[in-house]
Symmetry: C2
């Protein structure tokens, strides 16, 4: 292996999670210790920070504050939803990225994100190869949606899953205190993959979980849904339903679509208001007291309820990316390969960025029951080991003590 | 003091909290040890369980499960929203309650709830005095709304406040990851009193809190609100707003009123959808990306984030009620008298039920800033000691292990 000496950049991209900063911490702390990495730069708002020449000098941060990153939700360096053009059509951004890489002698680039971010990472990697700029480029997975190809699971998913399952168990307790009965409809994130909605079913291990779970992997049928809810309510006097925000009719129309027409920076439809919409429908169909609850941003930033397993694995993913790059590897994403029989074990592997970018890994149909209104034991067996352990971050004033970064912009060339 | 021997009933009433079961635990565990209390009966769904002769024999519960009540949100015995008639107009319910008291030789009655429940407790107490049935009747305070008269604060408030402040701090992190800015509107419970909405401001102690806080104690002005939000957004590029569900215009109309016309069992208007409504208005006024987030039931059942101080005080309130009753006291509610200077200290006192029932203690106007869009330091100094400490309940499968009661209906006479 040839030693490659130069600066590194770490960028965070896409929607934040409870543990994306743990991955950044893994990258930063490992890179700061690597002899061949001369400077560790944090990109302000992901690739936009590179394009804008806004890079923080991470060596100027207090090490104790960097230690707190693992307990700090959201993207401490700032994130972006910026889609790079096809370089054959418009290479403006790529030329600019190359210029910045050359300016700071950047030889290592770590990009932490989901599908779209791995696409960005992949495009930059292929461009640098094409123009012959020597640089090691690694993707670090992140997404609460858990839909990245080539990895057992994604950092961020488990903490959101733990938050969702715990919240469902607590709401279950609350939603059955009166003898008059109640139906609760919990709206959970996940546009195209039902990993998070399925995780609501973990709450049943506490004895307090949803009766019905609807994932976007199965076409939604409003009449069947209302019949399902009615049947449970008439039998039990109560009903809890977990639904993915991404449930859609057979023709592909999102159930929530009528409520909004806004789109995010990647052109995805912005969903929301589904819980209220379904609660209305259920109320009309049953006459019951109904509560629609949208877990909203809470489920992805609930670091106080992060899974310790997730926090540790997220750190390892970041650290493994740096170690692999230092050892000469490039054009890969860190992934997890896990075994569950005989006790949960998780090891990192390296997967080609090509096979990761722009694919969405769905919940296998056989992990959803035949009626399409719950997950099976196979899903539970898959998800349960991931939510183990409490992160127990430090408190100040009875409230979480988050990392406070100085974010000193680098000026030296 | 004359010793009074007989059974006791504990009932839970009104909206549940994260720690109402800690108070029930305090009552049950103390009563089980009291020599003069022959049987400890839990009323199924509060006073309705008395009327329906549905009483659980608490001595049949596993003591280890009773220990878990302090970590179990919501009302383990079941709750109700049942308003007793004026006994001078209709004494049917009172006669029935007396009949049940006589049937089981009930000489102690502990009722755990908020304003309306203290009214119930007071009416029963006065009726028993009138008919000369010897019985000691004690109210145990409970309400996330913190609006009971005669007490420094109410069990349940602090845990909800801790949940709200922590969630606001986490959402704050999430809501400013992009360089494009965002406005977050957080809807918080509290019909007529702004204690909970004000608690959102505690998040500022983490460096991550709301810029603006609107309480129902101040008349709401939509134009001023939009101007406030716009000013913060234009200055900072981001804005977080906490609003009480109970904000209303000068004529008393709830801002959310247009959204629903349903009422609960006590005849209160059921509010909701305010976050979405305000988010729409803010979006129109600013063109910014806006998220409306309703904390909904999550804020009152979030036992995983309960304040240890609150859990302990809730237990003490229940225990103190039993001890006082055994000592011969009746017709009182347990209250808290606290000092904050020189370190927080909290002691129980006993207040007449009359002065507690049906009053709503509001946030003092001087604890709200002049502009009416935030709380002052006095509010923070009041609330901060209450949210200290983590309850750290036991986990099973990485999820909370709630109490599992057998709820054996008593049959013996």
């Amino acid at each position: 292996m040839k030693q490659l000496t130069g600066a590194c950049i770490i960028g965070q991209s896409g929607g934040p999670t409870a543990v994306i900063n743990a991955s950044a911490q893994g990258v930063i702390q490992t890179a700061l210790k690597a002899d061949c990495i001369t400077r560790v730069l944090g990109a302000a708002h992901g690739i936009k920070g590179v394009l804008d020449d806004k890079l923080y000098d991470m060596s100027q941060e207090d090490p104790a504050e960097l230690d707190l990153l693992q307990y700090t939700p959201s993207s401490a360096l700032g994130s972006c939803r910026y889609k790079l053009a096809d370089p054959d059509v418009d290479d403006t951004d790529y030329k600019r990225i190359l210029e910045i890489f050359q300016k700071y002698d950047v030889r290592y680039f770590f990009y932490n994100g989901g599908n779209d971010s791995m696409d960005t990472c992949n495009k930059i990697s292929k461009y640098m190869q094409k123009v012959g700029y020597e640089c090691r480029i690694m993707g670090v997975p992140k997404t609460i949606d858990n839909d990245l190809n080539g990895t057992d699971h994604c950092p961020g998913f488990a903490s959101a899953a733990k938050y969702i399952a715990t919240s469902c168990a607590e709401v279950w307790q609350d939603a059955r205190v009166y003898d008059t009965g109640m139906i609760a409809v919990i709206e959970i994130m996940g546009r195209h993959a039902g990993w998070l909605a399925g995780s609501a079913a973990l709450a049943n291990l506490t004895g307090c979980g949803p009766d019905l779970v609807y994932l976007p992997e199965v076409d939604f049928d409003m009449d069947q849904f209302l019949a399902d809810v009615k049947a449970v309510y008439e039998k039990n006097g109560n009903c809890m339903v977990a639904v993915s925000e991404g449930i859609h009719y057979a023709d592909g129309t999102f159930v929530s679509e009528a409520k909004t027409s806004a789109t995010d920076g990647f052109g995805h439809a912005q969903l929301g208001g589904l819980a209220a919409l379904l609660a209305d429908k259920v109320k009309q169909a049953t006459g019951a007291k109904v509560r629609g609850i949208e877990l909203s941003l809470l489920q992805r930033c609930g670091a106080h309820l992060a899974s310790k397993t997730d926090v540790q694995e997220a750190w390892q993913a970041g650290s493994a990316a740096v170690n692999a790059a230092v050892e000469g590897i490039t054009d890969k994403m860190v992934a997890f390969q896990c075994t569950r029989e005989g006790g949960y074990k998780c090891e990192t592997s390296l997967e080609p960025l090509d096979i990761v970018a722009n694919f969405e890994k769905k919940v296998p149909r056989e992990w959803i029951n035949e009626a399409g209104n719950n997950v099976t034991q196979a899903f539970i067996d898959y998800a349960l080991p991931l939510i183990q352990g409490e992160s127990n971050g430090p408190k100040e004033n009875g409230l979480p003590r988050f990392a406070r970064l100085k974010k000193v912009l680098t000026t030296e060339l």
